[in-house]
């Protein structure tokens, strides 16, 4: 090839590259959920293929998700049609950037979820899309070590600790697994499980004497926890490799264990403390940014996601449960059945003490989580004095609550104005 020919080939290649951005008629579904490749594939093939508009489903990490969205909002035009994210992601946004969705006439079965979806305004800023929760899972081999008299569906924290200790004694290794890794959801355990179970609150009771007791209990649990837990983010992996026999995690982060070896694992409710069986939902929603290019098509996609049939398909694809009334078929994947039963037992238990997702924190949600993660690292990993750490962190928490003015949410008693740290 002569230089001239090479040059012209390169130029035509460049022209092709620039022209490759042809406009498209698909609605871009920009999501932070259903990220694992299998779930993304199922969302495309099984869920969104049935919509009457073409949808391009793109799951992302939180960072790129938000940056891209902010860029489109700032530029005033963009390609994102529909947003899919957790309540906390939407709560951190400016509600003026989200289109009011009241005219769609869509809502979740739960009034609480609908209230959360208004993000403090009068109108729905996102539509609740799907929900999940955190549960416990165990290898069947661990069951024989259950403390005598313990009912796996009504465990207390003391029994859980004893159980994990029994397993440790029998196998010579700590087999309780906790998602304390960099991407693990440990903060949710403290906010939605440990604190409600021991203090019947999260914010008000953050530095109470009962909270000191809760952390002491967690230290006991940590003593029988696999120390590699600081690297665990998806306990399904450790359950499958049998590094861990008993685990706490998000239902969708345990799903593969049940789906791959349904006969080897059991799912059961989170343990209870003196103040009941604390647990917390996970809520994801769909919204439309004000820069969506085809508003009508985007609204069609949102409506499609809330259709009962789509909700069941979504459940199969992502292990997230419907937020509207549906008739659940009997042939659901093992993980869905196991998690569904565990959540049902947990919420129906006599001592159930359900918490809500943090609300009204706006973009301080991450800082709020940080308070709990820091407390965990200082108290449990570094062995610092519990009272001193809580008194320290209390100042940070107070500042966050005052700055955002967020009122208390369950199980904290309602407040007028910002939720006080007592």
């Amino acid at each position: 090839m002569t230089i001239n020919k090479q040059l012209s080939a390169a130029l035509s290649g460049l022209a092709f590259l620039i022209a490759a951005s042809a406009s498209h008629s698909q609605v871009l579904f920009w999501s932070t959920q259903a990220k694992p490749v299998e779930e993304a594939q199922a969302m495309r093939d099984q869920v969104l293929s049935g919509a009457d508009v073409a949808v391009d489903y793109q799951p992302n990490d939180g960072g790129p998700w938000l940056t891209r969205l902010q860029a489109e909002l700032a530029a005033g035009s963009g390609s994102i049609g529909v947003l899919g994210a957790l309540h906390g992601d939407f709560a951190a946004m400016d509600t003026r950037d989200l289109v009011d969705l009241d005219d769609l006439g869509l809502e979740a079965k739960s009034a609480t979820f609908n209230q959360l979806a208004r993000l403090g305004t009068q109108k729905m800023q996102y539509i609740p899309w799907m929900q999940a929760s955190y549960i416990m899972a165990a290898n069947r081999k661990a069951l024989e070590h259950l403390p005598s008299g313990a009912d796996i569906n009504a465990l207390s924290y003391d029994q859980l600790i004893e159980w994990a200790a029994n397993v440790m004694q029998a196998t010579g290794g700590a087999k309780f697994g906790f998602p304390a890794g960099p991407k693990g959801l440990k903060h949710r355990f403290f906010q939605g499980y440990l604190y409600p179970s021991y203090t019947d609150g999260v914010v008000r009771t953050f530095a109470s004497d009962k909270a000191v007791m809760a952390w002491e209990k967690f230290r006991e649990l940590w003593a029988v926890t696999n120390p590699a837990s600081t690297g665990y983010s998806f306990l399904q992996e450790q359950l499958l490799s049998e590094e861990v026999w008993i685990a706490f995690d998000h239902t969708s982060r345990l799903a593969n264990a049940f789906n791959e070896r349904p006969n080897d694992f059991v799912a059961f409710p989170a343990p209870a403390g003196p103040e009941g069986r604390g647990f917390m939902p996970v809520l994801a929603g769909v919204a439309i940014p004000r820069t969506a290019s085809d508003m009508a098509a985007a609204k069609k996609v949102v409506a499609y996601m809330l259709d009962p049939e789509t909700q069941v398909k979504t459940l199969r694809a992502t292990n997230f449960f419907p937020v509207v009334d549906v008739n659940l078929p009997s042939d659901l994947p093992p993980a869905v059945q196991a998690a569904g039963d565990a959540v049902a037992i947990m919420s129906a238990s006599e001592d159930a003490n359900p918490g809500l997702l943090p609300a009204g924190l706006g973009n301080k949600g991450g800082d709020f989580n940080r308070v709990f993660v820091d407390a965990f690292e200082r108290i449990v990993l570094n062995g610092q004095d519990i009272r001193a750490v809580l008194d320290d962190q209390k100042k940070v928490l107070s500042a966050i609550m005052e700055e955002t003015g967020a009122p208390c949410w369950a199980p904290d008693a309602p407040s007028e104005g910002a939720c006080p740290v007592e």
């Binding site: 694992p36 594939q41 391009d56 790129p64 791959e260």
Partner: protein
Amino acid sequence: MSGDMRLASRYLYGATIALLTIWVLVPLGLLLINTLSSPEAVNAFPKRFWPEFDLGSLRFFAGFDGMIDALFNSIWVAGLTMVLSILIGAPAGYALSRFDFPGKETFRLLVLLTRAFPLPLLALPMAIAFIRLGIDDTIFGLGLVHTMLALPFAVLITFSLFSGIPIELEEAAWTLGCTRFGAFCRVVLPLILPGITASAIFAFVISWNEVFAAAVLTIENRTLTAFLLQNLDTSPLHLKFAGGFILVVPALVFIFAVRKYLFAMWGIANR
């Protein structure tokens, strides 16, 4: 040197070579074995040392929508990055080594600045500008960003290469009737070709591995890394291995394809 010493140093040499080889090959081997294993085998312990040739994981990716497009996008972007960073970087390197101009030292330092700011910080204003300019979601736009990331390496590598070639060689060519450009093409270029290859490999790898800008700046035209990497960390183990394998292989193929130019730089005969 005594015989013992010579023997010992030969053993040490051999052991170092073996260690380095193992260092590179063992992770790749594990990646391959686990890619070609069933999910049960991947999670089992002790680990296998021989693949069972289960193609399930690879078959999953073969049916994964958009994979092939993403692979080609990656190749286009990496290729463009390579060409642009050499076209822009090599003249800058030449100028740095051959000419004295005011602000030369500052320029050498400033060129590193593109690496001083984390991409998550730069991505937002860049994305806004790209959307306004209309080069958002194009291979060309992303190629520009990756070129910016690869430029410091291209400039500094070529600078040291040009500095290693005596100006007398060029001067000799001038006296024999070459123009400045002709001398550069006939004398300098062949000598620094291996170095150019090295910085091209750098540019290729930088572009191939970059996730954040790619994830923010492309949507329809995603690169393979942006398309896969973000989703792999939450995927089950056997798919992590298979996905990792898919990400590594094209880069390996590329490096093997250009390796003879690299070896030439280190004085190993070009066969």
